[in-house]
Amino acid sequence: MRIGTLKTDYAADEALFDTRLQKLLILLACAAAVLFPFVASPYWLFLACLCAINVASATGLNILTGYTGLVSLGQAAFMSVGAYTVAVLEIHAGTPFLLNLLVGGLLTALVGIGVGIPSLRVKGLYLAIATIAASVVLHFVFAHWPLTGGMQGLSMPPARLFGLALDQPFQLYWLILPVTALMVLGAANLFRTRVGRAFIAIRDRDISAEVLGIPLLRYKLMSFAVSSFYAGLAGGLWAYFFRVVTPESFPLVNSIFYLAAIIVGGMGTILGGILGAVFMTMVPELLKFVAGLVTPFYPDALALLAPVRTIVFGALIVGFLIFEPHGLAEIWRRIRRFFHLWPFRT
């Protein structure tokens, strides 16, 4: 139970985690994240890395779509730019992995800015189509450019740290999780400042945002840049994780996956991007588990997995849009509110 919060000064009030309970929860989450690799099986570590990569990308998309109101179906294609950049650098230059990730992110940001230029004029559906068109163009380039290995794609060496190859989920965990954590923290910080407020203002009413002194094009492009920078980093992490990058690694359906993740998690909240990405990553695993359970009685269950997965994704999107438009983040807030007031009011 927690009754009221007494704020001593504005700095405390402006803090990211302002209550003692929140701070405690964050500390616990950090401790759990550090201990997790030592107790979890490789399968669970694999899933944790995958979740983290998806959280990074979904958080980026959330900045663009959830906070700035610019719908994009290009997140997976943006990830492919980061992934290919990292693979090419790793194969041809052998530069340190952190540098490669950064270059991948920056290059993707440039591509994102290019794709975002029409956003001053077109919105909603039309912008979404423009991002799909960009995805198709990128796919074509990667499939035909000799540097990116055509349809075969690229196989790359693992990331190396002090001569040690990071090629097992256990080692990659220590690369992927901290990078994702920093990215999420950066996104949360963004929305404590004028930059994040400008994004939200553009989403809510772009005309009056202009009268308040916000240049629309500059901030829309900035949102595209940050969002695709995040996608590029996530794609780079993905490349280090799977070490094979092909034109089919980032299909359009993955872009829909990220959009679904932020809808299910909660658009325009940092927590929403995290919860949604983790949830959507775990759903197929859960389905696999269920399919495993019913196989003894219904041997074809595994074959049905792929179509069932698609149907479940679709149902989740529609279900959340109708019944919980603010997503899992809102459900979490309700739970918290319940415990804050408990046992005085239930």
């Binding site: 504005y10 700095a11 009030d13 402006e14 950066g186 996104a187 910080n189 963004l190 404590r192 400042t193 004028r194 930059v195 994040g196 407020r197 400008a198 939200i200 203002a201 989403r203 809510d204 009413r205 005309i207 009056s208 945002a209 202009e210 009268v211 308040l212 002194g213 916000i214 240049p215 900035m222 840049a225 940050v226 325009g268």
Partner: protein, 277 residues
């Protein structure tokens, strides 16, 4: 009669509207509109519905590009200046139909007003150290001490604007405009839809802003009682043209104004005051 001709020394004029004409297709919203706003005054623009008052504000803000004519702010022509740049120069406004950001709290809405005067860039924002943090905390303190206390909205600072009643929303929009460090504050119908008490509060705030903040005020308002009470100068628009301007007392008895309002029914009654009705 064109009311009292006013000649002002150039340095006394904060805003000059010079021969502005504006048309939407065939609709002539403004025709050769000229008037000046004296520094430190409260200038009211009145006129029947559809007279072109909001269009005039939108032209001054830079939303609409006039077909001809020019707006001069503080001796500087605003032709070719985009709305965000005009905001940075000190032109702030509120909207007739309230343009707050519904998804944000009152505090965040007010903070948005300061955008143009802040320096935090993308990288500062992502790390939230140094400049970003310092700027945000300074802004918060200033908003709390100068604006929230002044407008008596302490109790709603963390409320989402969507939950607020109409009168309070108008006040929050004024707060946001004040956060813009305005030199000219444009208010489009600040008391429309308010009851007597709320109207009096708002009139008091407007007077206080003028006195304590050293801000010039240009307002559009239909509430004639309030216009006559607090404005120094009144400009009357009808069918997109200035038909009179001068002191409130002079404008009230101007035959052209009376004639314009006679056709406007209810407004005619409001112009002559509730007692005379």
């Amino acid at each position: 009669m064109r009311g009292l001709p006013v000649t002002l020394a150039a340095r006394d004029v904060i805003l000059g509207v010079e021969g502005v004409s504006l048309a939407f297709g065939g609709v002539r919203a403004l025709t050769d509109v000229s008037f000046s706003v004296r520094r430190g005054s409260i200038t009211a623009v009145i006129g029947p519905n559809g007279a072109g008052k909001t269009s005039l504000f939108n032209t001054i803000s830079g939303f609409y590009r006039p077909r001809s004519g020019n707006v001069v702010f503080d001796g500087r022509s605003l032709a070719g200046t985009a709305p965000p740049e005009r905001a940075r120069l000190g032109l702030a406004r509120t909207f007739q139909n309230i343009a707050l950001f519904r998804g944000m709290t009152v505090l965040d809405n007010i903070k948005l007003g300061r955008h143009a005067h802040m320096r935090t860039g993308l990288l500062d924002a992502l790390v939230y150290r140094g400049r970003a943090r310092r700027e945000e905390l300074e802004l918060r303190a200033e908003i709390e001490e100068r604006i929230i206390d002044f407008l008596e909205i302490q109790h709603i600072r963390n409320a989402p604007v969507a939950t607020l009643p109409y009168g309070l929303r108008k006040r929050v929009e004024l707060a946001r405009a004040l956060a813009m460090r305005p030199r000219l504050l444009m208010l489009d119908e600040p008391v429309a839809g308010m009851n007597r008490e709320e109207t009096e509060d708002m009139a008091r705030f407007i007077l206080d802003v003028k006195e304590e903040w050293d801000v010039t005020i240009l307002m559009v308002e239909h509430d004639m009682g309030m216009v006559m009470d607090i404005s120094d100068h009144v400009v009357v628009l009808n069918f997109g043209q200035v038909i009179a301007e001068g002191s409130p007392a002079a404008v009230q008895v101007d035959p052209a104004v009376v004639a314009a309002y006679l056709g406007a029914g209810d407004l005619g009654r409001r112009l002559s005051g509730p007692e005379a009705a």
